[in-house]
């Protein structure tokens, strides 16, 4: 079990194999209480085909990092580069899966999945053909003509994943995509995502607060500090691949979970104490 150093600097040879580089990224918000630093000098990189998770307590700036990498937040300090190209907005190489419900209720499954191709002007027959391939990949064949209201939460999230994969982004960003799902669905969907990621050899960054999920899916887990969000530690997960759902019952898995939890508990406790103190102060 090895823990990498937090802030890394890459040699030119390493950059060639790197899809995503986050270098000294900071983000501050102006609030009524003053300036809040959500993320402070975060640096890490993700190699081609790698599955990396970011884990941290609530309010540590995980979703801010997601929005910055997705190009939804444009004003921040530091640099984010995709294949050596600095991003200044949504990048065509990046696909995003959101935490909140994001399937369009007025569109059928196939029209939801084909949406990115439709806005690119791909002909209907062709985009349906491509969409069917990805619907099949996420295990929703036969549900093409259903509306999201007819599907379960897990199925809707699979539609969102298929919609993101359909334009074949090099990098997949996922912000707590399984947060609203029950534990069993979460584990099964995790298996599905892992299989797709291995089949497509997709570079993937998962934002999560679930340690089990992070260890089950990732090659590396980045642990963040509570506000301001910084990289506390990067843990390499050396569990054998291909991984399946039964990996969660192995001894090594339990050790990784315990190791990450000991780091995370410290931050979560600090977060809880600061939040309670803040609440007491605003009451007074």
């Amino acid at each position: 079990m090895r823990a990498s150093s937090a802030n890394l600097r890459l040699a030119p040879a390493e950059i060639a194999e790197t899809d995503l580089i986050i270098d000294g990224v900071s983000k501050r918000f102006n609030t009524r209480e003053g300036t809040v630093t959500a993320v402070d000098g975060m640096s890490f990189s993700i190699e081609r085909g790698e599955f990396v998770s970011i884990i941290g307590p609530s309010g540590c700036g995980k979703s801010t990092i997601f929005s910055i990498l997705g190009g939804l937040v444009r004003s921040f300090d530091g640099r984010v580069t995709v294949n050596g190209e600095e991003i200044s907005g949504p990048h065509p190489a990046i696909g995003m899966v959101f935490q909140e419900e994001s399937t369009f209720p007025w569109r059928t499954v196939i029209d939801n999945v084909a949406f990115p191709l439709e806005v690119q002007g791909v002909a209907k027959a062709q985009r349906y053909e491509i969409a069917r391939r990805f619907i099949d990949m996420v295990g929703l064949a036969g549900f093409e003509q259903r509306y999201p209201s007819e599907l379960s939460g897990g199925m809707r999230q699979r539609v969102a994943i298929a919609r993101t994969l359909v334009f074949e982004p090099k990098i997949l960003l996922m912000d707590e995509p399984f947060a609203a799902l029950d534990e069993q669905t979460r584990l099964l969907l995790g298996d599905k995502v892992l299989k797709i990621q291995q089949d497509l050899r997709q570079t993937t960054l998962l934002i999560t607060h679930n340690i089990t999920e992070a260890v089950q899916l990732s090659d590396r887990v980045i642990i963040m500090t509570f506000r301001p969000g910084r990289v506390k530690r990067i843990v390499d997960i050396r569990l054998p691949r291909p991984r399946h759902g039964d990996v969660v019952s192995s001894e090594a898995f339990g050790r990784y979970v315990a190791e990450i939890w000991s780091d995370l508990r410290e931050e979560a406790s600090r977060g809880m104490a600061e939040t309670e103190a803040g609440a007491r102060q605003s009451k007074a």
Binding site: G70, Q99, W106
Partner: protein, 253 residues
């Protein structure tokens, strides 16, 4: 399944029939005043006379045409103004309280002003219906567009949609259910005012007929016309509901 669909309808019709039967009995035994409430049988019997002598069908077409004109104008202008205010935040902040206030105002009282402007004509009636129905459509369009989920907008941004694509492919379809609530409310307001103004200025279709019959103290005729107006409203709103389902296919499933 068909049994389950027909059962509520049967109970609905049966309860109306029982209610009318009770009124008939109470009138027969003198427990209700016949000079205030006509016999339900007389009301039903007067329909033939209304069609033959009072040109009920012709009046229906007249009121229907006015209602259609007001509906098209209300929908067209209401949705367009709502979209414009959504796009221009300053304009929205400046005008929204006024528009909300207009919704609650008894616009029908402004009919003398419209009479001066457009004369005793169908234009006055349509204009009154239009102004009465406009505010709810604007407000609900605004509410629908302002309430589009942030995650839908973020999906649009992540695919680098142009502002026009974002509007037509995400914002407008997401707002359709709320916009339809506004259109339905707008049409209710328009129809009430339309028939009310027909009654007040004694011109046009069904509203004028109620006025005429009331002045002649033809109580069964008045009640029959009112029942007819209610039935027409039911048909119009059923048609609107069907149209709404066509616009929102997800709800058909």
């Amino acid at each position: 399944m068909r049994y389950l669909t027909l059962l509520p309808l049967f109970f609905g019709l049966a309860s109306v029939a029982i209610f009318l039967g009770c009124v008939e009995l109470l009138l027969t035994f003198g427990l209700l005043n016949q000079f205030v409430i006509p016999f339900p049988s007389a009301v039903l019997g007067s329909f033939g006379r209304l069609f033959a002598e009072e040109q009920l069908f012709h009046r229906l077409v007249l009121t229907g045409t006015e209602a259609l004109a007001a509906s098209v104008l209300v929908s067209l202008f209401g949705i367009s103004i709502g979209v414009l205010l959504h796009r221009c935040r300053v304009l929205q902040l400046a005008t929204e309280p006024w528009i909300a206030a207009i919704t609650a105002a008894p616009i029908v009282l402004a009919y003398p002003l419209f009479l001066v402007m457009f004369g005793r004509s169908a234009v006055t009636i349509v204009a009154m219906g239009f102004f009465a129905g406009l505010a709810p459509v604007i407000l609900k369009t605004l509410e629908g567009l302002n309430g589009v989920r942030k995650s839908f907008i973020n999906v649009g941004h992540s695919y680098k949609l142009t502002p026009a694509q974002l509007f037509w492919k995400i914002e407008l379809p997401a707002a359709v259910p709320t916009i339809f609530v506004g259109v339905r409310l707008g049409l209710v307001f328009a129809l009430i005012n339309l028939i009310g103004v027909e009654f007040l200025i004694n011109f046009g279709g069904l509203g004028q007929l109620v006025n005429d019959l009331a002045e002649r103290y033809d109580l069964p005729g008045v009640f029959a016309t009112i029942v007819f107006v209610i039935l027409v409203s039911v048909v119009i709103f059923s048609a609107l509901e069907r149209m709404e389902r066509w616009f929102r296919p997800a709800d058909r499933s």
